[in-house]
Subunit: 245 residues, 2 copies
DNA sequence: AAATTCATCTTGTATAGACAAGTACTTGTC
DNA sequence: GACAAGTACTTGTCTATACAAGATGAATTT
């Protein structure tokens, strides 16, 4: 039997250890975007295991969107890890293939710990309470405000988030790298509503104009831990696009 | 070497043959929802192949959402095959766990072959032309109109669709079972707009009220074949919910 | 110089076994 | 009857190997 896994306090299967090992290296930038990761045989030798086990590990990473495999060439780090339910903006005047607009994120209020916002998530969840790490941000395309985003994460276990900056300004990346919390899937509710004062002010749209309201509940890989988002989008200048698999 | 696959005109790998065989049986109702499909060893014997090959076949079906596996028990047909980007309705007055509302689909106009609707899919595609199998349907929850749905499928190769009914009234199910066309993923664009006359009439909402407009482009397993949908949703009484993975 | 062949790398498919672990039922004991 | 042990089934993990097939570059031939 092989000795590499013996010393670990880990009851996890080998393929899982290998896939997490490689995943961590990708997240740390040791294998940058587009680069080649070690071949199956390399990993077999490195972990003293069989090829089927390594293949199972790599197939996990394919499922999670970290790598893609090319027959005869190797396994490559995916160019852009598609985050779950990622929304992007699409301008109406754009020609297909034109240069991307610049997306900028403004922090409306500094991150804070606040009680659960009663009444905001009427469609998705009614049973939450306690204190939440709260982000209020405004996303702009070419300096035009498009999306107002409120994000809520239960503070329990994440108290240290307030004391340091988010990695690349992304809460989800920080959760994944620092806390091993990954988003598994999400439930969302869509509505078209009329902009109220607060949305109309921040999105710079007329009061009462139709805006898109999205409530999201992210289910994580940690049982009982959910992240909530409420999004308001003004879609007259940029529509909201995404891809489902 | 085994003889079961030899006579076939099929250059496909064994696991793919097995998974399609089982998939077909599920679609035909031979293994109904929730039932147990044959064990890995059964399938090994039936196809005279090794267990790893059968496992690969079954894992494909897991990925596609047809079955789920339970350690120590067996593989079961999934209760409800989650179709890609499926939208459901959520009433505001409902208590969690209450009985579902009844969803009914009305055909606004009988299926017809029409030219590509210029200007409808401004956000997603501008380059289509030719004739399309066109469906215009209205989805109601508890007899309240919620979603107006236009669906477009290039008629080439699907001429026979007009001459027979859709399976369970579903275009996608018909495409999957009769034509082996499956939806791989989809791109969609969301906007909040004001209801115009036609939408306000059909959705029974005031002219100018905010409605949700969704443009969808479904990418299929057949290269170059796309299905398009345009959806208008009146979300004052029922919001639109879905799940992303 | 151009084309072909060859060697060698990669991932993809497949075999034939082994043991672990979860589940369900039977059997035996108290 | 209640409980424990055994057993027979399931899927999960893993080994060691083999050949197929795509990609790539070097060596050979034309």
């Amino acid at each position: 039997m092989n000795l590499l896994f013996l010393g670990m306090t880990n009851p996890k299967p080998h393929y899982s250890i290998i896939s997490e090992f490689v995943k961590k290296q990708i997240q740390e930038g040791i294998y940058p975007t587009g680069s080649l990761i070690p071949s199956e045989n390399d990993l077999c030798m490195q972990f003293d295991t069989s090829r089927m086990t390594v293949r199972q590990a790599l197939n996990e990473l394919v499922k999670e969107g970290f790598i893609e495999r090319k027959h005869g060439k190797g396994s490559f780090v995916k160019s852009e890890r598609q985050s779950l339910g990622l929304l992007s903006f699409k301008g109406f005047s754009e020609v297909v293939g034109s240069a991307d607009h610049e997306v900028r994120t403004l922090v409306v209020e500094p991150p804070a710990i606040l009680p659960w916002p009663q009444g905001v998530f009427e469609s998705i969840s009614r049973a939450e309470r306690g204190e939440y790490f709260t982000l209020k941000r405004l996303r702009c395309a070419n300096d035009v405000p498009v999306m107002l985003e409120y994000t809520y994460l239960p503070i329990e276990g994440f108290e240290s988030l307030l004391s340091s900056e988010l990695l690349d300004g992304s809460l989800f990346k920080t959760l994944s790298v620092k806390y091993n919390v990954d988003m598994r899937n999400l439930e969302q509710c869509l509505r078209a509503i009329q902009a109220e004062t607060i949305q109309s002010n921040l999105l710079k749209c007329p009061l009462g104009s139709p805006i898109l309201a999205i409530e999201r509940k992210y289910i994580t890989n940690q049982a009982g831990l959910f992240v909530y988002s409420k999004l308001y989008c003004y879609t007259d200048h940029y529509s909201i696009s995404n891809v489902l698999n």
